[in-house]
């Protein structure tokens, strides 16, 4: 059973430095899953068509249920910081998908996983930085993103800056669907090899795309009966049940870095 995918990307920022390769980066992810692995492509929005509103919870006036929650995986590439990830300033609703404690302790934009969404890949800088000073106080990765998990399995991103490259999305997808020998090495192998787990695919993407000292990271949630760290992409192996808060006596978030 294949899943459904959505991607958003921004090169042409009007409020931050412009980027170059984000259309190829996100487009590669989308193309690999949709055209080589049978996934349903829900949306591929770029520049002025990419909206912060698509990620925002309805309680804050956003439309996440109509967009990101219709996908199993969403891939965003553009600018990021420990506070969140950025859009153009002339698109709905505003230009920053913010974490909690950025404009208020419980004012984060994302409460994800209430629909289909299992994985959010943010190919942006610094979003999963462990510690970050916001408003003069340290707000760590759990302060900023724990409440974004409302059934979501994993956020995949970086703790450091990373290069603006064309290849990460396609490589990440090819590690997920098992076509990575063909895609990464550039030769048609007569057989596929095992697809990688979601987290391994993210770390390997960083490993073969980024220079030394760049650090990727993941933040995953678990509760009784879930094992999100072992997720494969849909159609390629085990996928954990959704970790739902309050469903058992414990709930945890795990942050794991991978330095290149």
């Amino acid at each position: 059973m294949a899943g459904s995918v959505g991607v958003e990307w921004i090169n042409d920022y009007n409020n931050l430095n412009k980027l170059t390769h984000e259309h190829e980066d996100a487009g590669g992810f989308y193309d690999e899953l949709v055209n080589h692995d049978g996934w349903i492509g829900r949306f591929n929005w770029g520049n002025s068509n990419a909206w912060e509103d698509d990620f925002k919870r309805t309680a804050k006036g956003g439309h996440a249920p109509d967009w990101v929650e219709t996908c199993d995986i969403v891939y965003f590439t553009g600018h990021g910081s420990p506070s969140g990830f950025y859009f153009r300033s002339d698109t709905p609703d505003d230009s920053l998908v913010e974490g909690d404690f950025v404009s208020g302790p419980t004012n984060g934009d994302m409460r994800l996983g209430t629909g289909d969404l299992d994985w959010l890949a943010l190919e942006v800088c610094n979003t999963l930085q462990l510690n970050a000073t916001i408003g003069g106080v340290n707000r760590d990765v759990f302060d900023r993103w724990a409440d974004a998990f409302a059934g979501l399995h994993t956020i995949l991103s970086f703790t450091t800056t990373s290069l603006d490259l064309a290849t990460p999305g396609r490589y990440f997808a090819a590690f997920l669907d098992g076509r990575w020998l063909n895609v990464v090495y550039g030769f048609p192998f007569p057989v596929g090899v095992s697809p990688l787990k979601m987290i391994d695919a993210w770390f390997m993407m960083a490993e073969i795309c980024q220079p030394d000292d760049v650090e990727a990271a993941v933040l995953y949630a678990n509760t009784q009966g879930t094992d999100t760290q072992n997720d494969y992409a849909w159609g390629h192996g085990h996928v954990s049940p959704d970790p739902i808060r309050g469903a058992s006596s414990w709930f945890s978030w795990t942050w794991v870095p991978h330095a290149c």
Partner: protein, 277 residues
């Protein structure tokens, strides 16, 4: 004018025998698949692959064992010293380390390292640092500068077993001097970048260069021309977010990493291509 050397890398020849022996030492079976210029040995959960000189990632060897996730918590991760020793033995036994440096203007240093990587687990009340895995590798320095990037990397990741979860070995078989070029000065790079980011209309924009490092790096992918290990500045730039609704950054402003060539040699392509012949 300061000058700096650019080197030309030649990837190792593809050798099925070397790969089979490396697979043996990883306890991997004998299911071998060949492509035009790459070989893979694999079973249901593991694969060892190496590319030849014509691949997108020439000479890059990867081993992946996804029985356990790189993101899982390995409470009993291998001791760093043992991990480092395993990697050193593996490289030596299969001659996988950097090959001959064919020029006395290239001074290569190898610096093995190993460490525990920690994860942080939060249960809603407490943050707890836990041992997640062990990483080992070899850092390369060429003429005193770090060598960086996925095309020149030696590292391995270990879980609870002595055999690794991942190995990435990307080195050259031969490294030769390609050309001597003018080294672009650090402050020229900084001022050009600041000018470019501010443009004509935002002269007072608070662009900050957070970090600038001179390193040797190859292209991320082979580009069908001399495969150069060349000097680049890795520059980390911070510039504020000009948000909608008057928003400003309450914390760290967005940053970005740029890879900027650090050499100048007239028309570079004209200078570089004649050397191929």
């Amino acid at each position: 004018m300061s000058t700096i050397s650019l080197f030309r890398m030649t990837a190792p020849q593809l050798d099925a025998g070397v790969l089979r022996r490396a697979a043996d030492s990883l306890g991997l079976g004998d299911k071998l698949t060949k492509s035009d210029d790459a070989i893979a040995i694999h079973d249901d959960a593991r694969v060892l692959v190496r590319a030849g000189g014509c691949a997108k990632l020439p000479g890059v060897l990867l081993y992946l064992n996804h029985r356990s996730s790189l993101g899982a918590i390995h409470d009993n991760a291998v001791d760093p010293e043992r991990a480092g020793r395993w990697l050193g033995d593996f490289l030596e036994k299969h001659a996988l380390g950097p090959g001959k440096v064919g020029d006395d203007r290239a001074k290569l240093e190898l610096m093995p390292w190993s460490r525990v990587t920690e994860a942080v687990v939060f249960d809603g009340k407490e943050r707890k640092r836990v041992r997640a895995r062990t990483d080992a590798g070899v850092r390369l320095r060429l003429n005193g500068l770090p060598v960086s990037g996925p095309r020149t990397r030696i590292r391995a990741v270990f879980g609870n077993d002595e055999l690794p979860l991942m190995v990435h070995v990307a080195v050259w078989e031969r490294l030769e001097l390609h050309l001597e070029a003018e080294l672009v000065r650090r402050h020229d790079v900084v001022s050009a970048l600041e000018r470019s980011i501010r443009g004509r209309t935002e002269c007072n924009l608070a662009v900050r260069i957070k970090d600038i490092r001179l390193v040797y790096a190859a292209s991320e992918e082979f580009q069908g021309r001399p495969d150069l290990l060349a000097p680049y500045y890795f520059v980390e730039v911070e510039s504020p977010h000009r948000g909608s609704k008057g928003a400003t950054d309450p914390g760290q402003a967005p940053r970005q990493l740029l890879k900027i060539p650090a050499w100048r040699s007239g028309t570079q392509i004209d200078q570089i291509y004649p050397r191929v012949a």
